[in-house]
């Protein structure tokens, strides 16, 4: 025999943990009464949809017993951040032909209570499969990554995790969890629980280790000696060629490790540091900061700054930026030299507020010219090939020049 609990109204909500659903077996007017006969349909299925970046949608499915005619279905919640305006009640079509036709006639909201009462019309007595969905606060997700680079730093294994934090004051038995991409999980999620789930493990992702100098973004290491800071990055390209590209990579913390050189690379794994991985669309690059390279020294000076009058107060400026670069590493290295033309103009003649009109001069020495992919009218990127240091650790001084004509300034 089905057990139908008899609850006085005031204790009913206290008896529930949080979100509760009950069907009142009585007439509409008794919604205000003190003593009620109610059935408590249990959750059959819960889905937690995390695909929206700003909101978490919870969907729960229950079988609700209804009588022919009007029924009151009471939904209440306590100490949870359910947004009552987002609650949607849907009747799910079933193959069962005996299932009644069910329609929500109206919804009533009692004062000063986290509850609502659906008035549901049923064509016949029977059970209806209903799905109730709502936005729930304090059930949040974040992403994080674990990157383990091979010892030669040519590739890495990237593990992507989703971390679900449940501070919603509600527990969910086996619930479907979906991030909007990747696999769907079926996990129980307890109250105040944090659950980390592996979304994907990307093996053998080819990476590029870069050394970059950029006075605007990374500043000088030693301004008095004109020495630029040279940060190192691992660059991952989010495309199929690099064993990625299934989906955009969401923002998240990346912990970076490197394998040891010995026979057992796992044993020698060392922590290299961590960085925030920015949101990376497909075909874009994720750059992970590894720290400052101590073995590459770049001295940047302005070798030439000459003003030529065209007419009246209209001038052009002939500017040469000189780089003296030493690589003390035992391997040859490519250095990315990045310059903002606005910054060069401001150094050479002060800020005029106008866009910079410029041309590369003949004395520019970087082989291959500027990187056409990454250079724009505001910024130029060059690549400098640095040979390995000599046997005694002696580094050759490589000199490069960036020659720029700044035109039509006043």
């Amino acid at each position: 025999m089905k057990k139908i609990p008899l609850f006085p109204c005031f204790s009913r909500r206290a008896a529930m943990l949080a979100a509760a659903l009950s069907v009142l077996a009585c007439l509409p007017d008794s919604a205000l009464g003190r003593v009620k006969l109610i059935t408590l349909p249990v959750r059959e299925r819960v889905e937690i949809q995390l695909d929206n970046p700003r909101a978490t949608l919870v969907e729960e499915e229950r079988f609700v017993p209804l009588v022919k005619g009007e029924n009151q279905v009471d939904f209440s919640w306590a100490s949870t951040q359910i947004d009552p305006n987002t609650i949607v009640f849907r009747v799910v079509a079933t193959a069962d032909e005996a299932a009644p036709d069910v329609k929500v006639l109206s919804v009533s909201y009692p004062p000063n209570e986290s509850a609502l009462v659906w008035t549901v019309g049923a064509s016949d007595s029977g059970s209806a499969r209903v799905r109730i969905s709502y936005l729930l606060g304090n059930l949040t997700k974040s992403f994080n990554y674990r990157a383990v680079a091979a010892n030669d730093e040519q590739s890495l294994d990237l593990s992507q995790y989703m971390r679900l934090q449940n501070l919603a004051n509600e527990e969910f038995a086996n619930s479907g969890v979906w991030a909007g991409f990747g696999p769907q999980f079926l996990k129980p999620i307890g109250m105040n629980e944090t659950k980390e789930m592996l979304i994907e493990r990307y093996k053998n992702v080819p990476i590029q280790k870069t050394y970059t100098c950029n006075p605007v973004e990374f500043d000088f290491l030693d301004r008095a000696q004109n020495k630029l800071r040279v940060p190192m990055h691992y660059v991952l390209k989010n495309d199929a060629e690099h064993n990625l590209g299934a989906a955009p990579l969401p923002y998240g913390k990346v912990r970076i490790f490197i394998q040891g050189a010995g026979d057992d690379p796992q044993a020698g794994t060392a922590f290299l540091g961590e960085d925030w991985g920015q949101f990376t669309p497909k075909d874009d690059e994720m750059r992970l900061y590894l720290g400052v390279a101590q073995d590459i020294v770049v001295k940047r000076t302005i070798e030439k700054n000459e003003r030529k009058r065209i007419t009246g107060n209209l001038h052009e400026h002939d500017v040469i930026v000189k780089y003296e670069i030493e690589n003390f590493k035992k391997q040859p290295v490519t250095l990315d030299v990045v310059e903002s033309l606005r910054h060069i103009r401001n150094e050479a003649r002060g800020d005029s507020g106008r866009d910079v009109e410029w041309q590369l001069g003949k004395e520019t020495t970087f082989e291959g010219g500027p990187d056409s992919e990454r250079s724009t009218s505001e910024q130029v990127v060059f690549h400098a090939q640095l040979p390995a240091a000599g046997p005694e650790g002696k580094a050759e001084v490589i000199v490069h020049k960036l020659h720029v004509l700044l035109k039509n300034e006043w």
Binding site: E47, Q49, E70, S106, L314, D355
Partner: protein
């Protein structure tokens, strides 16, 4: 519920000069029940017109009637009594607002009738409001949407109107005072206001307009399993929803009812870059039309929140957006902003900048000379007075979705600008250029355009001119 709040209507059981008799300590009164009540609720103002009828037994001679509304939000200046039957035999001789009881009045009715008559009392109250809201669920392939509209009536008036017929007015009316303020002050103070003007204005705004629409529905039994219909009709500049049958909304409660339901509303997806409207980002839009071919168009859509979901194709929903829509007339467009799409990348890159058409003004004169015009002579004593800034841009769009997309872009420029491109743009307004592009699934496109800005002496206008031309990268 406030147990003290009660609208009371009483027939006082004493005969002669009512004011004298009332001053005694012992009163006897009978309380005729409300026979019917109709609420006409406005959503643009905190205003509800209440029209209630009661059956009163009159005796020949003077019949004092008392009407009180303790702890409610009724505007005392608006209370009116009308006789629906035996009107020729009944007259209100005077109306008294006692100074010591602010929320009460007495009508002194002279009757030639010995028997029953139906009276109608009308007044304005505040505290009963209604609002609209909508839920849309897009199909998994996003070609159609199932939409539902709701109206939600909230009763915070302090009074319970049982089995009330409910009418909702869509549209804006003019009020010179807030009812809630009037409800707080005694009639003596209200009387000192320009009451004539006040009530005239209010009546012309609300009562006249609504009086001409006959109420529908009436008493009904339990609602059918289909739910109640909400009847919609236009009236002057307003639109009136009448809820079928009657409703009881206890004080403090609110009730939400379905006002329409539409299945398979055709849906169009467009991507838009309109920084003035949607911020500096490319957003994804759902576009629909509130008309009959779209299975809509039975009613204008009043202001309200809409919550948009999508069937995620895995037996569940995805939440897309929640936003407020402004009143949408029948036949007008419904535009829903779903925010940026991580599968569509939109980047603007400035490829080149240069200047030309530089004009020098010889200092201290009105003489101008263009640079390069007279190359052999360098005029030292001159200053730049006019020039053109050229900027070449590449608008890059990458489409990682599985569908072809249409993108509309608007860019606004200040000053005298020439927009040069092969993109077949048009002017949205004098300073805003609009152009479109389509991107097949999985592909990328690059749109080149050049913006020429005339400055100083060269600026002759304050607008954008379009020029069809090929633009080269460098």
């Amino acid at each position: 519920m406030n147990p003290l709040a009660r609208i009371m209507f009483a027939v006082l059981a004493f005969s002669a000069a009512a004011p004298v008799a009332r001053s005694g300590n012992v009163d006897l009164s009978t309380v005729p029940e409300r026979k019917s009540v109709q609420l006409t609720i406005y959503n643009s103002e905190d205003l509800t017109l209440v029209r209630e009828t009661r059956v009163v037994t009159f005796k020949k001679g003077a019949n004092p009637l008392q009407f009180s509304w303790a702890n409610t939000l009724i505007d005392p200046s608006s209370v009116e009594l009308k006789f629906l039957t035996a009107a020729d035999q009944l007259d209100v001789l005077d109306t008294t607002f006692p100074h010591d009881k602010p929320q009460m009045l007495y009508w002194n009715v002279e009757s030639e009738l010995d028997g029953e008559a139906t009276i109608q009392i009308t007044y304005f109250t505040s505290g009963i409001t209604w609002s609209a809201d909508y839920v849309g669920i897009a199909s998994a392939d996003e070609s159609t949407m199932d939409a539902e509209g709701f109206v939600r009536v909230t009763n915070n008036s302090g009074e319970e109107y049982d089995d009330a017929q409910i009418r909702l007015v869509v549209g804006t009316i003019n009020l010179v005072e807030k009812i809630a303020q009037l409800a707080q002050i005694p009639m003596s103070a209200v009387a000192e206001m320009k009451s004539e003007e006040l009530s005239t204005l209010r009546r012309s705004a609300a009562m006249d307009a609504m009086g001409s629409v006959s109420g529908r529905g009436g008493q009904s039994g339990p609602a059918p399993a289909d739910g109640k219909e909400i009847i919609k009709e236009g009236l002057s500049e307003y639109f009136i929803y009448t809820v079928e049958g009657t409703e009881t909304i206890p004080n403090g409660w609110s009730k939400r009812m379905r006002s329409f339901e539409a299945e398979d509303v055709p849906l169009k997806i467009e991507y838009r870059y309109r920084p003035k409207e949607y911020g500096d980002q490319l957003v994804r839009m759902y576009l629909m039309t509130n008309d009959k071919p779209s299975n809509l168009g039975t009613t204008p859509l009043p202001d309200g929140a809409i919550r948009v979901f999508r069937d995620n194709g895995r037996d569940g929903l995805s939440f897309l957006t929640q936003q407020t829509i402004k009143y949408i007339p029948i036949g007008d467009k419904i535009e829903l902003n779903l925010g940026p799409d991580p599968e569509v990348i939109f980047e603007l890159v400035k490829l080149r900048s240069f200047r030309d058409a530089i004009w020098m003004q010889i200092n201290g004169t009105n003489k101008y000379q263009q640079v390069g015009e007279d190359a052999q002579r360098t005029e030292v004593n001159s200053s730049v007075a006019g020039w053109d800034d050229h900027s070449v841009f590449a608008q890059r769009i990458r489409n990682y979705t599985s569908q072809p997309i249409g993108v509309e872009m608007r860019r606004t420029y200040d000053g005298h600008v020439v927009f040069r491109s092969p993109l077949e743009p048009k002017l949205h307004d004098y300073q805003t250029v609009e152009f479109r592009a389509g991107v097949p699934p999985g592909e990328r496109t690059e749109l080149l355009f050049e913006v020429v800005q005339h400055h100083g002496y060269n600026a002759k206008q304050n607008n954008v001119t379009l020029e069809a031309a090929e633009v080269v990268r460098d």
